[in-house]
């Protein structure tokens, strides 16, 4: 009986945080997140939601999770906000150095490999799920996924973050090869909207970017401009 005196919560399944203090006092800043990247002929489209949470408190509702690594390479960050910011900073520094040595812009694969190196060799200390996407003149548009654990693999499109779990069915059934830039932008916006609709840790606005030889073209779709997914009904 002593244990039940101390933990009445043991009668109910409960999450890890303490009952004695609110969740936002004991939780880490997390980019809960829904992120995505898609390749098209001539570039890539990347997208992310804009919510950063501390427990269930939204610390930042207009976060920018699409982070520049070089002029033609961006990364989408998910997981611990601190970890991913630190890694992105480091990779940015290293790639700048590399670019100076090389005399031209680094390849997307190089950036992805740099991310992978940090994420893999520090895998026990990090909580970072990263998508590296961009354009280079050797292979055109490329998307590389660097999930928890630090592997690196190229994919025609990839989704990440907590919200991605809700849209695997949608992307698997909707994706087709050979989409145009506009189709990719639309596909990304719809997917992220669906993820944000269901995932409490994702929300806010949809930030999109299209990266090609010409550069980076950013788009913002605000909360009230997203497609409305609420189906009204009322049973008495």
């Amino acid at each position: 009986m002593a244990s039940t005196v101390l933990h009445p919560a043991s009668l109910r399944s409960h999450n890890l945080s303490s009952d004695l203090s609110p969740d936002w006092l004991t939780s880490e800043h997390s980019t809960g997140t829904s992120i995505m990247a898609v390749e098209f002929d001539g570039g890539v489209v990347i997208g992310a939601d804009s919510r950063t949470t501390t427990g269930a408190y939204i610390a930042n509702r207009v976060t920018d999770k699409l982070t520049k690594v070089t002029d033609h390479i961006y990364c989408c960050r998910s997981g611990s906000a601190a970890d991913t910011q630190a890694i992105a900073d480091l990779v940015n520094y290293h790639l700048n150095f590399h670019q100076m040595e090389l005399g031209e812009e680094p390849l997307v694969k190089t950036a992805a490999t740099k991310f992978k190196d940090f994420c893999y060799y520090n895998r026990d200390q990090l909580s970072a799920g990263i998508i590296v996407a961009g354009w280079d003149k050797l292979k055109g548009g490329q998307v590389y996924s660097v999930p928890l654990g630090g592997m690196c693999v190229r994919q025609p499109f990839t989704i990440g973050g907590s919200g991605s779990t809700y849209v695997y069915g949608y992307v698997d059934s909707t994706f087709k090869k050979g989409m145009t830039k506009e189709e990719c932008l639309d596909f990304t916006a719809r997917t992220l909207t669906l993820a944000m609709h269901r995932d409490g840790s994702s929300g806010g606005v949809v930030r999109l970017a299209a990266i090609s030889e010409a550069g980076v073209e950013k788009k913002l779709i605000k909360g009230n401009e997203l497609p409305n997914l609420m189906h009204e009904f009322d049973y008495q």
Binding site: S13, R61, T67, K222
Partner: protein, 216 residues
């Protein structure tokens, strides 16, 4: 288990308003988007609950049955806000003392003897009455807004109270990751009790354009 988030309550001149969104969360999953969390007990009393939705449905069915039984007694008496509040407090505290709580935070509101009433009871039996009452994240985010408004103007009109509640729910939608921008309100005045909704607040995302990269 499926849970509901904040419930807000505020008094105005001649009545009270309760508000709660319509989301049933399953952890971080926004699973059920049409969970009414407000209940009309009778024409002078309303109740709202956050926390476990199954426990709320149980409490709701018990109250509904008691209202029917009382109607059958036909003695002219019906549940008042204060009597319901007192009864709920006893139930919540007793369940807690038997280590089997009803995992809810409940807000009771209504009109008793012409005076507005608002009360809060939670799963461990803490109970109090106040001019503005909020549960969950609302207690941290909406309560200061409500108290500030009441301090400036202790006697709000019904319309002012509605707008104030809408403002609070907008901020909660921005800042509570387990909320939904679709809510109901319950209004009690001398003319009776009614539940309105679903209503969605207008949101403003203009600041999203003004935010740069974290490292720029």
């Amino acid at each position: 288990m499926v849970t509901g988030t904040s419930v807000l309550g505020v008094k105005f001149d001649g009545g009270i308003i309760l508000a709660a969104d319509m989301l049933g969360s399953y952890g971080s999953l926004a699973r059920f988007m049409h969970c009414p969390r407000l209940m009309k007990v009778n024409d002078s009393t309303v109740m709202g609950a956050g926390g476990d939705y199954a426990d709320f449905q149980y409490i709701k069915s018990v109250i509904e049955q008691r209202v029917i039984d009382e109607e059958c007694m036909n003695d002219g008496f019906q549940y008042t806000p204060k009597s319901l509040f007192s009864w709920l407090t006893r139930i919540m505290y007793n369940r807690r003392s038997r280590f089997n709580p009803l995992w809810n935070t409940i807000v009771v509101g209504g009109l008793q003897d012409g005076e507005p009433f608002l009360g809060y009871v939670d799963k461990i039996g803490t109970a109090f009455k106040a001019p503005s009452v909020c549960s969950g994240y609302g207690a941290y985010i909406a309560q200061p807004i409500l108290r500030n408004a009441l301090e400036k103007q202790p006697n709000l009109t019904e319309q002012q109270a509605k707008e104030l509640i809408d403002q609070c729910l907008t901020v909660l939608h921005y800042r509570d990751a387990r909320s939904l921008n679709k809510y109901q309100i319950a209004i009690v005045t001398k003319d009776g009790a009614r539940i309105e909704g679903p209503i969605s607040s207008a949101t403003n995302w203009d600041i999203a354009e003004r935010v740069g990269f974290f490292d720029e």
